[in-house]
């Protein structure tokens, strides 16, 4: 199947999960990355269960933040 990953067309085997794609794409510090498929934000649980399909558009968004005091929000669980 052909999918679009961060703006680039890529060939992958049918049935690939988002989790497997993260590994295949060697995404660094994936715990700080939010994944969207066709503009839908996935929860961490959905990464393992979601199989990708022909034409899917995937984006990896790095968490970006900072502050003068440690975050009170759960920064790795957007």
């Amino acid at each position: 199947m052909t999918i679009v990953v961060a703006g680039e067309r890529k060939e992958y085997a049918d049935g690939l999960t988002v989790e497997e794609l993260i590994e295949a794409e060697k995404v660094e510090t994936p715990q700080y990355v939010t994944v969207t498929v066709n503009d839908t934000f996935l929860s961490n649980a959905e990464r393992a269960s979601r199989s990708l399909q022909e034409g899917d558009i995937v984006e990896f968004l790095y968490f970006m933040g900072g502050g003068t005091i440690p975050s009170l929000c759960a920064s790795n669980d957007l």
Partner: protein, 139 residues
Amino acid sequence: MIYLHLKEYEKLLAHAVKCLPEEACGLLGGRKDETGNTYIEVVYLLENIDHSQEHFSLDPRGQLAAVKEMRANGWRPLGNWHSHPASPSRPSEEDKRLAYDSSALYMILSLMERGAPVLNAFRIENDHVEKEEIRYIQG
């Protein structure tokens, strides 16, 4: 060297002032040349979803929209910026801890002294912070 259009800087400054007393934040898009110069073509103003005076997190939805627009214009994401309403223009310990991308540019605007804003650009790798010079482009 970092090149920044003056009108993009003015946009960033106006937004950061408007967001006071909260920290303001956004993304930087543009290009890099072979000699290592960075050209910031566009400054994105995004929502600080923490709505805090001491913390910021970029709105992921705004981030997604900005990334798509950059790609459509042939630009690339260069890094992010945020304001320090009441502290100097340098990364805090928390800023360093949350700077996951060592290739990214981190810009910090200090509004500590009213009427005398200070913008600096940094590369952050773990605990190591390096400042880069900014040159402003007219027009």
